[in-house]
């Protein structure tokens, strides 16, 4: 990237001024996200050599600065280096992968995008200009329809859990036919037994929800999950927790309703024959 303009356009990339100056002056210098320090055991000022895959060969950089992003959308596991250094090694001076343009007003975005695309339409490298969000989303779609895939897996998991929970509740209720009959004989009403079975289903769903959602909420920040760099800023948000809680309530209703109704409607005499 073009160092000076890039850092200007992304004030979210925060680093000490002296490190910033050192990087701007060092042609083979690099800025690294703070996560890379502990991950690779690198130190400030160290020369690190990477082996290129798409662009083969050894690529040596000096770690001139360590940045901390103020926006999780800016990944903290990125190594940023000078485009000039890349151009020299590759021998394709002036070729860029993408340009970032800052607009004065978001309302002007579509018109500016169109003007840029019109400008390069008949060139050897026509452009496709879009918002930053679209650009980032296009990276995710390089994996395929990730959103659809994740949704499908999620639904399959929920369905499997529903089957397991419903089966557990049905078996539990069936095995306890005798106990339900005894409780009815003692004086427990149909409504109370319905409530007790639903509470049991709710307790199971609640325990699962607390373990699952709580675990995810604690685990993701702890392991700093970012989908190998493709999902920077990935987090378990409040809306995710709410959806999870609603799914748990749905599971409770779906798995508890039939056994609860069965317990409430169980004829005592018939159930007592089962017991005796």
């Amino acid at each position: 990237m073009d160092a000076e303009s890039y850092l200007k356009i992304y004030p979210e990339i925060v680093l000490p001024p002296e490190q910033r100056d050192a990087f701007l002056k060092d042609r083979t210098g690099a800025l690294i996200g703070k996560r890379l320090l502990p991950q690779f055991g690198w130190k400030l000022g160290q020369n690190v050599t990477l082996q290129g895959t798409i662009f083969p060969g050894d690529w040596t950089f000096t770690v001139d600065g360590v940045y901390t992003p103020t926006d999780p959308a800016i990944g903290d596991d990125v190594l940023i280096f000078h485009h000039e250094y890349f151009d020299e090694r590759i021998g394709r001076a002036g070729i860029a992968g993408w340009y970032i343009v800052e607009v004065d007003d978001p309302a002007h975005g579509p018109a500016i995008a169109k003007a840029i695309d019109d400008m390069f339409r008949n060139s050897s490298a026509p452009t496709k200009t879009g918002t930053e969000r679209e650009f980032q989303a296009s990276f995710a779609t390089m994996w395929g329809n990730v959103s659809f895939l994740m949704s499908t897996i999620g639904l399959a998991v929920v369905f499997a859990i529903l089957l397991v929970t419903a089966n557990a509740m049905m078996m539990s209720a069936r095995e306890r036919t005798g106990e339900i009959a005894v409780l009815k004989t003692v004086g427990f009403s149909d409504r109370l037994l319905f409530g007790l079975v639903m509470v049991e289903a709710g307790a199971m769903a609640l325990t699962g929800a607390v373990l699952g959602l709580g675990g995810a909420k604690l685990l993701y920040p702890a392991i700093n999950f970012n989908g190998m760099g493709f999902l920077p800023g990935f987090a378990v948000t409040t809306s995710t927790l709410v959806i999870g809680a609603l799914v748990a309530v749905g599971l409770m209703l779906a798995s508890g309703l039939v056994p609860a109704l069965r317990a409430a409607r169980l004829p005592v005499v018939q159930a007592l024959r089962h017991v005796e």
Partner: protein
């Protein structure tokens, strides 16, 4: 007025195509403070009669009243509340909840009352004391002998001070010694605490402990109630 009044009761079951008439116009009175044994062969309607008195089942026709309450006319929710206050039921196979201790099993009927925790504790301790199991309160059913389990079940039946105690073959799964203990306990509950007790039994020796023996056959009382020998002595 008798405590339990059974008037012209009919009860039939439908089994596939066949209709089985258990009672065809049964009339019976059970007095307050009595100890009655119901005897008769299998299928004679003994357990069905117990279920009708407990409000667990409804007669096809006729009325069942207990302490003036029209049991046969109550709704399921009314019956549940009524049973909690008026009926102490003991099963042949004890039917204690295995995950609860003896104390918790005995406390179950009291959970349906408005008694405070302290009052419940006092009642449960008293009931366990009466059946001689005060030192087994923290034991789970699997840690009790058959006789102790049945005595715990009796404690559960008496803890709410019910109007009537109904016992379905209470000694059916017990050895001779435990049976005698349970029967002695029932006699004591009847004589010392004036509990009205109705037991269903096949065992003539058990029935002899009752004050009154009723013989049922095919749903009919085949002989007049007679005073049991032991009670007469």
């Amino acid at each position: 007025m008798a405590l339990v009044e059974i008037r012209d009761v009919y009860k039939s079951f439908q089994r596939e195509e066949q209709r089985i008439d258990v009672f065809t116009g049964l009339t019976l009175d059970i007095e307050a403070g009595s100890f009655t044994a119901l005897m008769g062969p299998s299928g004679s309607g003994k357990s069905t009669l117990l279920n009708l008195i407990a409000g667990l089942d409804k007669p096809t026709r006729g009325t069942v009243r207990v302490a003036g309450a029209p049991v046969s006319e109550m709704s399921p929710s009314q019956l549940a509340a009524w049973r909690a206050r008026n009926i102490g039921f003991v099963f042949q196979s004890f039917n204690l909840l295995p995950v609860l201790t003896a104390y918790q099993n005995v406390e179950l009927p009291l959970l349906l009352t408005r008694l405070s925790g302290k009052e419940r504790t006092e009642r449960v301790k008293l009931a366990l004391d009466v059946v001689g199991l005060a030192d087994r309160a923290d034991h789970y059913p699997r840690q009790l002998s058959g006789g102790q389990e049945q005595r715990t079940a009796i404690a559960r039946a008496i803890v709410a001070d019910p109007t009537v105690m109904l016992l379905d073959e209470p000694t059916g799964q017990l050895d001779a010694r435990s049976s005698q203990e349970v029967l002695t306990l029932l006699q004591r509950l009847n004589s010392e605490f004036s509990k009205t007790i109705v037991i269903v039994t096949h065992d003539a020796h058990a029935a002899e402990r009752a004050k009154m023996i009723l013989h049922l056959e095919k749903g009919d009382l085949i002989e007049k109630p007679r005073v049991a020998a032991a009670a007469a002595r």
